[in-house]
Symmetry: C2
Amino acid sequence: MDDIGANRPKTRIQRRNTEAILEAALEVFSSNGFRGSTLDQIARAAGLSKPNLLYYFPSKEAIHSELLNGLLDVWLDPLRAIDPAGEPRDEIMTYVRRKLEMSREMPRESRLFANEVLQGAPRITDVLSGGLKSLVDEKAAVIRDWIEAGRLARIDPYHLIFSIWAMTQHYADFEVQVRAILGPEHDAFAEAEVFLDRLFDRLLSPDP
Amino acid sequence: MDDIGANRPKTRIQRRNTEAILEAALEVFSSNGFRGSTLDQIARAAGLSKPNLLYYFPSKEAIHSELLNGLLDVWLDPLRAIDPAGEPRDEIMTYVRRKLEMSREMPRESRLFANEVLQGAPRITDVLSGGLKSLVDEKAAVIRDWIEAGRLARIDPYHLIFSIWAMTQHYADFEVQVRAILGPEHDAFAEAEVFLDRLFDRLLSPDP
DNA sequence: CATCGGCCTGACCATCCGGTCAGAAAAAGA
DNA sequence: TCTTTTTCTGACCGGATGGTCAGGCCGATG
């Protein structure tokens, strides 16, 4: 009886260990990529033995997959939260801020996805062109309607969303580069918030 | 006499093969990362045998390093080309367009760097905080002067540069995601050019 | 056309890595 | 306490992978 993944962890030990494994795996996968990470690294980081990892998860793939799918929901929450009934610019600015906050609070998760997508998203193509696409389509339609109503500047909703992703995730994914250039004394995220506020404010104001 | 890297390739065969190796390595490294790529893959892609690779390069690391350093110059050319004597908005818009064009024409190079930086830039930290930092500092100073002269909106030069990097490279590095959402019929890069033109035009116009 | 030096290869090696397994240790239950 | 179930481990396996080496090939030069 190997497979524990099917029925959710019940005992205290199971919950504690699966959690430790996923935490360790996030740390290791996000900074080395899937292929660049080893079970030994994860085991060491989790304070467990390698065979014990494989007692809780059937394979390295399974750990990675569990992480990725478990995080996708959280990751897309801010986008889901865009409210068609809200004030357009507030909604989008809130989205930007929440996304930037996630980059600051969850850089490892950001890098995990970045690694995956960079390498062709072999393990989540179905999610990208399935759930993600339809969510983005939905929100793009909302933005389009706002534009039609003259409440936002005329800009492409899809590329607006891409630009938000690009700029917010940049501060997590390329943190080393940002820090190398700004130096350690700067609070990159605080500065980014000011900058992005200004940028999107200017971008979204309706034409006169 | 193993090391050929020291003195530049002389014979026709050397030039042809080192070129084939670097081309193949770019293809393989950029889509699998350093750790995810094997010498066999590179050898196959280059049409050579594995020992023959190691006749031209002393190690896998050496191939990767050669690629990375060789490309850094090309990669930063557009930034270098920003002319303090030029018209500020033209200079920056030209930079954006050239950077986007590079993402379209050299997506593999973009992904190679992205992979490296994502994983903490272990092999190019010195370049980041050395040459790159000083180049960015220099150009940021130029932009600051333009702002002081009232020829650009008051925005942080460093984060302006980050935003250009983020948005242009996004279309290369996350191409799979972009394509999954837009579908194959869209020309993402053409749309991006229009979008970024508008975005930076609005961002940079001096306040009244 | 001979020969010499640059070019190339098959076979091999040591190590790493994901994964297995028999059974020990520990916890839970009776 | 005794038994059963869960948790854990050392030893091991097979395949992949980076790298080596002795020697064969082959093209340029005299």
